[in-house]
Amino acid sequence: MISDPDVVGLLYLVTIACFVVSLKFLSSPRHARKGNWVGGAGMLVAIVTTLLLEGLENWVLIVIGLVLGSVVGVVGARTVRMTAMPQMVAIFNGVGGGAAALVALSEWHNVDGPVWDETISIVLSALIGSISFAGSVVAFAKLQELVSGRPIVFPAQNIVNIAVLVAAAVLGVVAVAGVEEQWVLYTLVALALLFGVMFVLPIGGADMPVVISLLNAFTGLAASATGFVLDSTVLIVSGMLVGAAGTLLTLLMAKAMNRSVTNVIFGAFGQVQTGAGSGRAADDGRTVRATTPEDVAVQLSFARKVIVAPGYGMAVAQAQHDVRQLADVLEEAGVEVKYAIHPVAGRMPGHMNVLLAEANVPYTQLFEMDEINPEFPQTDVVLVIGANDVTNPAARSDPGSPIYGMPILDVDKAASIVVLKRSMNPGFAGIDNELYLDPKATMLFGDAKDSVLKLVAAVKAL
C-alpha cells in the first residue's frame, strides 16, 4: 500500500512524462512503436499506483472489471481489419467518453454539498463525455454501415440541435447554482446523449475524418474535466494532451477540405450541393470513355512514371494488397511507382497510409499532396483508385462547385489518367467529377479489387 501522497504524486508524474514522450516519438515512424511501449509503461504505472492506494474496496468487482475490459479490448484490437480502423477508433473514443461521464455521475451521486468548482467539473465531464459517447456510437454505426453513411436530415435540424444543447447547458447552470437534485444531472446526461446522436447523424461520409477527430478531442476534454472532479493531475494533463491532438487534427482536416468546422457540423454536406451550378460539363458534348484492363496494362507497362491516387473506394474493396502487387509487377518492369495521399482520402486522418502500410508498401513511397502535386506534369499515367472528390478539378476551376477551393491532387496534369470506379455514381459529396470528361481520362469500371487483379494479370501477360 502507498500512503504517502508525495510518492503517489511522483508516480503519476512518471505517467505524464511517459505519455508526452510517447507522443513525441510519434514524430517519426521509426520510433513510433517504441513510443507506444513507453506510453503503455506509463499507463501501467498509473493503474498499479491507483490499485495500491489505501482504502480501496470491492476488489472482486475491480478484478472482474479489469479482466472483462481487457478481454473485450484485446479481442477487438486483434480481430479488427485495417479497413475497419475508423470504426474502431470511433468506438474506443466512445467508451472513453462514456467512462468519463459515468465517473462524473457517481461523484454527483456521492458528494454532499459539492463546491461550485467541483460542480462545474462534474457538469462538464458529464456533458462532454455523454456527447462524445453517443456521437461516437453513431459514428461507429455509420462507418460500420449499420445506419446509412449518407447525411440524415430533417427540417429545422440545426434549431432542434441547438435547443437541446442549450437546454443541457441551462441544466448545467442550474446545477452549479446549487440545485443538487439527482434528476438535474440525469436529465442533463439524457439531453447530452440526444445531442450527441443528433449532431453526428446529419454528417455524411466524407466529413467523417473531421467528426472523428472532433469526438477524439471531446473525449480528451471530458477526461480532463474528470481530473478536476477527482483532483487528479494525471487525468487533467493526459486528457488535455488528447484534447489538443483532437483539436489539431480537426482543424487540419477541415482545412484540407477548405471548410470551417462549424460548416462541417451544421452544413449536412450531401444536402447543400444539389442546387449548385456544378457538374454541368456533360452538356458540352464531351463524354466519358470506358477502357479495358488490357489497354490500361499496356499504358502502365510502357510508362516511366506511374502515380497511384487511392481513396475510400480502395478501402471498401479491400484492394490495398492487390494495388501493392500491381506496383510490384510494374516496378519489376522498370516503372517508377509512387502513391499520392490526400489528407482527407478515406474516413479518418491518415487512413490511406495505414491501409498501404498494412499491404507492406514502404512509407518512403507515400507522398503527401503538397509533395506530389508538382510531379503530376511529369507523370505518364495516374491510377485513380476509388478516389473521387479529392481529384475533382472543379475544386480549382468552378466557383459554383460546393468543393470549390478545396486543395486537390492535380491528377489532371498528368499525361493520362485511368480512373478505377464501380459505376458513374458521384462520390460522397454527391457531385459530378469533371475529371471523367477530360479527354486524357479513361474509366475502368468494376470493383476496385477485381479491376486491379485483372490489371496485374494483364501486365504479367504482356
Binding site: 510519434l26 474506443f92 488535455m240 484534447g243 479518418m348 491518415g350 518512403t364
Partner: protein, 105 residues
C-alpha cells in the same frame, strides 16, 4: 490525491494544452491514424477515475456505475494500446525480401 488549488490546476491545464499542440504538430500526416488511436489509448487514463469510484463505492448505484466505467475504461486502455501497436508495426521503411518478412521484423 493531493489537494491542488484550482488556479494551479488551471495553470497545469493551460501548459498541457500548449505542450500538446507543440508535440502533436510535429506528427507527420502519415502517422495521423496511429496518433488518433494513441490519443485514444491515452484518454483511457480515465481508468484511474473508474478504479477510484468503484473502490470507494458503498451503495449499489455507485457500484454499478463504477463497474461499468471500469469495464469501458479498461477496454479503452487495452484495446487502444494493442490497435496502436499493431498499426505501428506495419509501417516499414522499405520492402523486405518477401520470404524473410516475419523473421527480420
Amino acid at each position: 490525491m493531493i489537494e491542488v488549488p484550482l488556479v494551479l490546476e488551471l495553470a497545469i491545464l493551460l501548459l498541457a494544452a500548449f505542450l500538446g499542440f507543440e508535440v502533436i504538430s510535429k506528427v507527420p500526416t502519415m502517422l495521423h491514424t496511429p496518433l488518433m488511436s494513441g490519443a485514444n489509448f491515452i484518454h483511457g487514463i480515465v481508468i484511474v477515475g473508474a478504479i477510484l469510484v468503484l473502490g470507494g463505492a458503498d451503495d449499489t448505484f455507485t457500484k454499478v456505475v463504477g463497474f461499468t466505467a471500469l469495464v469501458l475504461a479498461t477496454a479503452n486502455v487495452v484495446g487502444g494500446w494493442f490497435v496502436t501497436d499493431r498499426m505501428l508495426g506495419m509501417f516499414k521503411r522499405r520492402p523486405e525480401p518477401k520470404q524473410e518478412k516475419e523473421t527480420r521484423e
